[in-house]
Symmetry: C2
Amino acid sequence: MISESSKRRISESTIHRLSLYYRLLSVLEKESKETVSSKELAEREKLTPAQVRKDLSFFGSFGTRGLGYPVSELKRRIGEILGLDRQWSVALIGVGNIGSALVGYKEFQRQGFNIKLIFDNDQRKIGSNHKGIVVADIKNLEKELRENKIEIVVIAVPATVAQYIVDDVVKAGIKAILNFAPVNLKVPEDVFLRNENMSMELEYLSFALVNLFNGRGTNR
Amino acid sequence: MISESSKRRISESTIHRLSLYYRLLSVLEKESKETVSSKELAEREKLTPAQVRKDLSFFGSFGTRGLGYPVSELKRRIGEILGLDRQWSVALIGVGNIGSALVGYKEFQRQGFNIKLIFDNDQRKIGSNHKGIVVADIKNLEKELRENKIEIVVIAVPATVAQYIVDDVVKAGIKAILNFAPVNLKVPEDVFLRNENMSMELEYLSFALVNLFNGRGTNR
DNA sequence: GAATGTGAAGGTTTTCACAGCA
DNA sequence: TGCTGTGAAAACCTTCACATTC
C-alpha cells in the first residue's frame, strides 16, 4: 500500500509509535470520536504533537488543517501501513509456559494474527488440544509450515534448543520470526527476526530503582 | 552503586544493551571464558565494538587494554548497575492468561525478581495455589503490598480495569510498575512505569513483510 | 601487537517554528 | 482561528579514529 521505500528510511521507533496510535485510535473510534488532533494523540501517548505529525507525514497527509485527523480513516490507513488490514497465518513453536499464554492472547487474534499451528517435541503435549488447535509433532515442522502457508512463526522454546528450531524454520522458507527465547538467534539476512525479551523492562525498572531514584519516574 | 548522575544522561538503549551484555556474559561465564573483547561482544549482539565500549565507559573502565574485559568481573559489575545483585520483591496482579505464564517464568527468578504475592478479583482463583503462592483477594491489595514490602508490581489484568488497579498500586506507595495490559496508564511523575506490549513486535513483523520486503531482514 | 577508552565527527531522531490551508 | 505539514535547528546517539595502556 505504501510506496515510500525510496523517500526516507522509516525508523523502528516510528513504526512502534504507529502501533500505539493504532491502538489508541481503536479506542477513540469505539468512543465515536470523529476527529482527533496531534495534540490530543500526543498527550495520551506522552509524546509531542510534532512527533505525531512527523510520524504520520512519512506516509502521507491524513489530516485537515484547522481540524485534525479523522479517527476512523486514520485508523484504517495506519492499519494498512502496519499490515493489520489482513489476516496472518501464524505458527507457534513450544507450548510451555509462555507458549500457552500466547495461544490464548486475545490481542493477537484481534489484530489478525491467527495461530493456525502449534508444535512441540514433548510426547505428552503432542495431540493435546489448545483452544481448538491440536499440537503437532515438531518433526513435521517443515512440511506443515509449507502446507499450511504459514507466514509468521513465534518461537517459545527453551533457549538451549531455539537455534536448532529457528534453523529449521528458516529452511521451511519462513521470512518473519518472533522469538521469545532469551537468546540471540542467527538468521540469514533476508529473514526478519524480532526478539521479545520479557526480562528487559523488568531490568530497566530495577536499574531505575537503584540508580535514578531522584524522585522522578520515566515512562515510554 | 553508580554515581554518574551528574555526568551524562544514560540512554534507555544503553540500559537495554546492558541487559543483553549481562545475558551474554552469563553464557560466557558458564563456558569458563575468562576474557572477552568488545569485538566479540559486539559480534554476538550484532552491534559495533565502539558501541559496546561506549556503553560500558559510561559506568567506568572495566577492561584491560590489549586484553579485553574479564568476563566474571564485568558480569558482576553490570549486575550491580542493573540492580541484579540483589533480590527484588515482586507482586503480580492478575493471574489469567499472561499472569499464569509469568508466575512460572524462570528468567525472572534467575535474575532476582521473586514473585511473592499474586492477586486476582476472581473468586474462583482466590485461594488457589500457583507455584506455591496462594492467590490473594485484590481487595487487600494496599495492605498486603505494604506489609510484604513489595518493590515492583507487575500488572496483567484486562485493559479495562488496569487504570483502577494501577491507581491503587500507586496509593500503596509502589514506585516501579511493569504493565502488560494493552493500554496507556497514568501514574505520578515519581513512579516508574514500563510497558510490555507483546503485539508490537508482531506488528513490526507484519509491517516488514508488507512494506520492506526487498529481500532483506532487520533485527534488533 | 592487541584492544580499551574517549573526544570529535557523523548520522539519525526529535523538536521548533512557521507557512499554508480549512 | 486552529491545526496540519514540513524545512531547519537542536538534541541525541552511534561510529570513527587514535592516543594510551597492557
